[in-house]
Symmetry: D2
Subunit: 348 residues, 4 copies
C-alpha cells in the first residue's frame, strides 16, 4: 500500500541501526536513560527552548490526548476542525483522557480562520455554569487535507486564543513535512507563533513509533509524567524510544526525509495534474494529495494492484466517469519510479 | 545496573534482527499486518486456544489496565495483593482505565490464599448498592517477591473466583520465567487453571517493548480493540510490535531466555547463601532475589559500583551490621562472571 | 420572573402537602420506602409497562446523564440535536457520566428527521476502530424550541435507530406538556413508539425536584442503581422524592398542570400574534414560545418589570425596530391576568 | 426503624414549613435565589469565614465526592480510615468523581492518629511517578463508630497534612452532633483546626435532603460550581434546598436537634449499661451507639418489633449467649419513652 499512508512505510535504516546500537548492556529504565537526556537537550536546542518540557511516547494519539489532558480541564471544550485527527481518528481518546471534554468544531473542513475561532469562542458560555467552558485550541500542521497554516495564520489564531486566555496545541504528526514546506525554524512554527504545546511526530516520517510532547511552559512537566505513567505510556526500556528520536534528529535526517516525501508528493501531483480528469480537492502543500479521478481510472489502477484506497464511494458502479476521491500519501521512502508508474497506470 | 531490573537489560539480538527484517517496504498499519496474523496464530497454538483474543501493546501497565478494564465494571473492586504491580507500580492505571474501580487488598504481601480470597469476597457487599461490588481477581505470576503460585494454588484461587462468578486475570510480566520454573504448559498455567485473561510479557524477558493480552473468551475482542485505540495504545506501524513478539516466540527463544535468567538467579542465590550474613526474604523461585545483607556489605558493594539499589533504608548509617534489604533481578543476558564477581565483592 | 422558565415557578400546594404527610415517623431509607413501592407501581400502570425499571432522582440532568450512561458504552457517540439540553445545558454531564462519549449533532436546531439521523449513523464508523461507534439516540419531547415530535415522527426515528441496533432515549423534562398536547397515552409516546428509556420530568411541571428514569427493559436496573449511588443521586430520606412523584401522579394532577400551562401559553401566543411586530421563531405547541419583538417593545416591557430575559442581543441599542428574540415559558401557575397584562404592556 | 439510622427519621416540622413558605410565586433558579444569598451569608457568619465558598447539594455522598474532587488530582491518594463513609458506603463515588483517585486506609477502624497518618504519607511515593501521589486527608466527625476527634486531635492531624502540603476535608454528615458534644464553635472545629473543606450535613439532623459544602479558600468556588453542574447536582428550583438550610440554621434549630439526639443516645447508653450482658464497642460520644447484646436479647427485641438491625451475624443461631453487635442511632425526634421501652424490652 505504497500510497495508502505514511504509516505503512518503513523506518529509515539509520533509525533501526540506532536501536541496535542502543541495545548495549544495561541502561536506566523509565526515561532515566542517558539517551533521553541527550534527546531532551537536542530538542530544546532545535526548538530554541532551553526550559521546555520534553517527553516521549510511542503513538500520536497518546501524544495528542496526553498533551490536551494536561492543558484542559474536564469541563472545557477543545476547539478543532471537523476533520481534525483528534475528532475523527482517535476513537475519543481526548474525551477519555481529559475526563469528558467536549470538542467544538470550528471551520468547514481541515482549517479554521481567526474569525471562525472568535465566533466559536464567543458562542461558548464562558462563565455560564450550564455549558462547556472555553478550553484549548488544537491545530494540525500539516492539516488532515494536506494543507498548511502559514506562520501568519498560526499567529492570528493563537492571538485569538491568547485574547481569551486559552492555550494552543499543535498536532504535529507531520511537523517536519510542514516545516520544510514553510522553510521556517521550529521555534517560528511553534512558540514564536504562540503555540504552547506540540505533538512532535516521528512515526510517520521514518521512525518505528515515537513522538515527542513538547510543552514550552515547563510547569506542566510533573503532571504530564504522572498522566503518562498512569496511562501506561511510560516505557520501561525507554532507551528504545530515545534512540529513535535521537537518530531521527541527528544530521538532519528528519528534515531530509520530510523533504524527500514532499518532493515525491509534488512529483505525483504534477503527474496527476497532467491527467485529463483529475481534480484536486485541496492544493497539495506537503506530502499528501486529495484528488478525484474517474471511476474507470480507479478501476484500472486497482486492477493493476494499486497501493491506495478510496476515501468514499464504491469502486464498482454504473458510471465510469463518476469522480471518486482518494488520498495519496508519500512517505520518505517512496521512489520516483513508483510515482511514475502510478501516473502511467492512471493515464491508461 | 545489572541487577536492578530486567527492564534495564538489553533486548536479544534476534529480536533486533527481526525488527530490521520487518522493516521491508510497505505493510498494512494498525494491526492488519501479516506479521500480526502470524503472531496471533502462533500464540493461539502455544496456548492451545484456537479462538482466543490476542492483541499486542507496548507496555505491561497498558496490558494490565486494558485487560482489567475489559473484565471489570466501574463499580466493582479488583482483588489483588498489597504488593501487586497494579496496586504499587502503575500510578493508578487500573483506576483510570476502569473508570473508578477500587482495589481490594488480599493477603499480606505478594501472594493470596483461597481462604483469604474467600473472606475478602464475602466481606464485600454483593448486591448492596452502597459498596463496591466484587469484580475480577488479579494474580501475578512470577509474584512481585519472586515467588510462584503452583498450578494447584492457581486452580484453587480461580475456583473461589468462579464460585462467585468473578473472572481471573494473570499479570504475566514474567510469564516465561514462571512457566519454565513450573515446567508446565502455557495452557496449564492459564485457562486449564481457570485463568480468563493474561498479560503475557515480552519486554522484561528480552524484547524492546511488547506484551500480548490474551483473553480466552473472545467475546471481549472488539471492546478491547476500541479501548486500546482510545487509549492511544494501537500502534500505526504495528508490524514492529508483531515482529518482536514473533521473534520472541520463534525457536523457543522466550523459553531459552527465561531459563537462562532463572539459572543465573539460582547461581546468584547459591552464592549469597554462602555468605555469613545474608537472609532471604522469600525463597527465590524464578529470576528475582529478595534478601538482606549487612550495611557494611552494601557499602562495600556500592563502593565497588554495585549495579542494584536498596529496597529501603539508608546506605549511610551508624550500625554496620544492620541488615538492609535489596532486590536483585537477573535478566536473560547477565553473565555468570558478573554474578560471581558480585558474590565475591559481597564476601569482601 | 414569571415567564423566564418553568423552573422559576412554585410547586403545586398538593405536592407540598404530600411532603408534610410523608414526614410522619420513621421510614426505610435509600429507596426502600413504602411510598417508592407505590410510586413504582403507579408509573408502571400509567405506562402500561408492568416490568419497567423505575427509579427517582432529583434533577433532570441526573436523569438524562444516568440514563445515557446506562444505555451507552464510553466509545460510542450519542445522536442528538444541536439545541438538545444534553448538548447545551448540562455542562457535559453526559460526557462525564458515560466516561467520554461524544455527542453527534443531527439536524439544524431542535428536531431531527429520520433522513438526517440515517445519514449521521451512516457517516459514523461502525466497525472502524478509529472513530466513535454509533450509540443511543436521544430525543427531547417537548423540544428545546417548544415543538413536538408526532407519534409518527417518533416511530420513524426509533425505526432508524432500531435498524442499526441503537437504543432511543427520550428527554421528557416536559413529558406531560407534550402528552396532553398530543392527546395520546404515555405508552404510545414511549415504548409503543420505540422509546427504550425516558427521563420523566416532574420538576418543571409543579414538583420541587423529582424526575423518574424509566427503562422499559429492566435488565439495566441494578446497573442503574449502582450508577445512581456512586453519583451521589440516591437519596437517604428517599420518601421525600417518592412523595412528590406520587402526589404528582395522583388524581391526574400532572396532566391538569400540563394542560393549564399549555392553555396559558396558547393564550399568550394568541395575544402576541395580535401585535403588529411579533414574529414566531417556532410554532408554539406546548408551554414555550420563541418569538421576536422590536427592541422598543422589549424596552417598554423591561421598564415595566418584565419577567423574562432576551435570548440574544442587547436591550440597549440604536435601532428601536430591530427584532430581538425571547423565550417565554408558562408554568402551571401563571394566571390569565398575568398573561393579559403582559400582552397589554407589549402593545404599549 | 426508630434506631436504624438518622436517615429513617422525619424532618423537623419547621423545615417543612419553610418549604411551604418558600413556595411563593416565582424565584430565580439554579442557586440565584434570594434564600441562597441569605443561606450563604448565614453560614459564613456562623463559621466566622466571610470569604468562604458555600454551595448546597442534596446528599452527603455528593457533598463528599464533589469536595474531594475539587481538592484532589486524579493521580493522588486520599487518606481516610478503613471505616470511612467514603470508603465503605458510597459505592466508589470518590473514585468516580476524582477520575481515579485511590483511597489509602489509615488506622484500624474509625479514627486515625497523627503517627499513623505520618507513616502512611511517608510510605507513599511523593515524587515517584510509579505510585499514587499523596493527596487530601479526609476525616469524619462524628466518626463512623460514633466517636469524636478532639480539637487537639484535629489540629495534630491537620498539622501533619499541612507539613506535607496536603489539604484536609471533614465529612460532617453529623457535624452538629459533634459540635454540641465538643461544646466548641464551628470555626474552632474547622478552619481554626486546620480543616480546608467541610461537608456540613443537614439531612441526618432533621432536614429532608440538604448538605452544604464549605471551602474556606474560595479559589475553588467556580470549579466547584462546574463540577456540581456537570454531576447533575445543581438544583433548578434551588430555593427548596436553600429554604431547608436556612430554616435549619434559624434560631439554633440545628443545635437544638443535635442536642436532643445526643441526649437521647446518652439516655439509651445509660439504659444499656444497666443490662448485665451489654458491651460497648466504642464509648458513645454523640448520637450513635455500637454495642453487643446476647443473641437471646436480640431475639426478644426483634420478636417485639425491634426497630434496628444487626451489624453482623445471624439472629438465628445455636448459642443464645453469643454476643451480636448492633448499631443504634438516635435522631432528633426519638422520644424518651421509645428509649425506655427499648431498654425494658431488652431487659426482658
Amino acid at each position: 500500500m505504497t500510497f495508502a499512508s505514511d504509516n505503512c512505510g518503513p523506518a529509515h535504516p539509520r533509525i533501526i541501526e540506532a536501536l541496535a546500537r542502543a541495545n548495549d548492556g544495561y541502561a536506566a529504565s523509565y526515561g532515566a536513560d542517558d539517551l533521553m537526556a541527550q534527546t531532551r537537550a537536542r530538542l530544546r536546542e532545535i526548538f530554541e527552548a532551553p526550559e521546555a518540557m520534553v517527553h516521549l511516547v510511542a503513538t500520536g494519539t497518546a501524544a495528542n490526548a496526553l498533551a490536551l489532558a494536561t492543558l484542559a480541564q474536564p469541563w472545557q471544550t477543545i476547539y478543532c476542525t471537523p476533520l481534525a485527527h483528534i475528532n475523527c481518528d482517535e476513537c475519543q481518546a481526548p474525551e477519555f483522557y481529559t475526563g469528558g471534554c467536549k470538542l467544538s468544531l470550528v471551520g468547514e473542513a481541515d482549517k479554521m480562520t481567526p474569525t471562525e475561532l472568535s465566533a466559536a469562542i464567543a458562542e461558548a458560555g464562558h462563565g455560564n455554569v450550564h455549558v462547556a467552558q472555553p478550553g484549548p485550541v488544537s491545530l494540525t500542521q500539516v492539516t488532515e487535507m494536506g494543507r498548511l497554516y502559514t506562520l501568519e495564520e498560526l499567529q492570528a489564531l493563537s492571538g485569538v486564543a491568547a485574547a481569551h486566555g486559552l492555550p494552543v496545541h499543535l498536532d504535529g504528526a507531520r511537523f517536519a513535512n510542514a516545516l520544510v514546506a514553510l522553510g521556517c525554524t521550529p521555534a517560528e512554527m511553534t512558540w514564536k507563533a504562540g503555540i504552547d504545546a506540540v505533538s512532535f511526530g516521528g512515526t510517520k516520517n521514518g521512525c518505528l513509533g515515537v513522538e515527542a510532547v513538547i510543552v514550552f511552559n515547563p510547569v506542566h512537566s510533573w503532571e504530564f509524567e504522572l498522566r503518562r505513567k498512569r496511562a501506561g505510556h511510560l516505557f520501561s526500556k525507554h532507551r528504545f524510544l530515545s534512540a529513535q528520536m535521537l537518530a531521527y534528529l541527528a544530521d538532519d535526517l528528519w528534515l531530509d526525509m520530510a523533504r524527500a516525501a514532499n518532493a515525491r508528493a509534488a512529483r505525483l501531483a504534477e503527474g496527476l495534474r497532467s491527467l485529463p480528469d483529475c481534480a484536486f480537492l485541496a492544493e497539495p502543500q506537503a506530502n499528501m494529495i486529495f484528488a478525484t479521478l474517474p471511476r474507470a481510472t480507479h478501476q484500472r489502477l486497482h486492477a493493476a494492484g494499486a497501493p491506495y484506497g478510496l476515501r468514499a464511494g464504491q469502486l464498482d458502479g454504473a458510471d465510469p466517469a463518476e469522480p471518486l476521491s482518494m488520498r495519496l500519501v508519500c512517505d520518505w521512502s517512496v521512489s520516483e519510479a513508483a510515482i511514475d508508474s502510478f501516473v502511467e497506470a492512471a493515464r491508461g
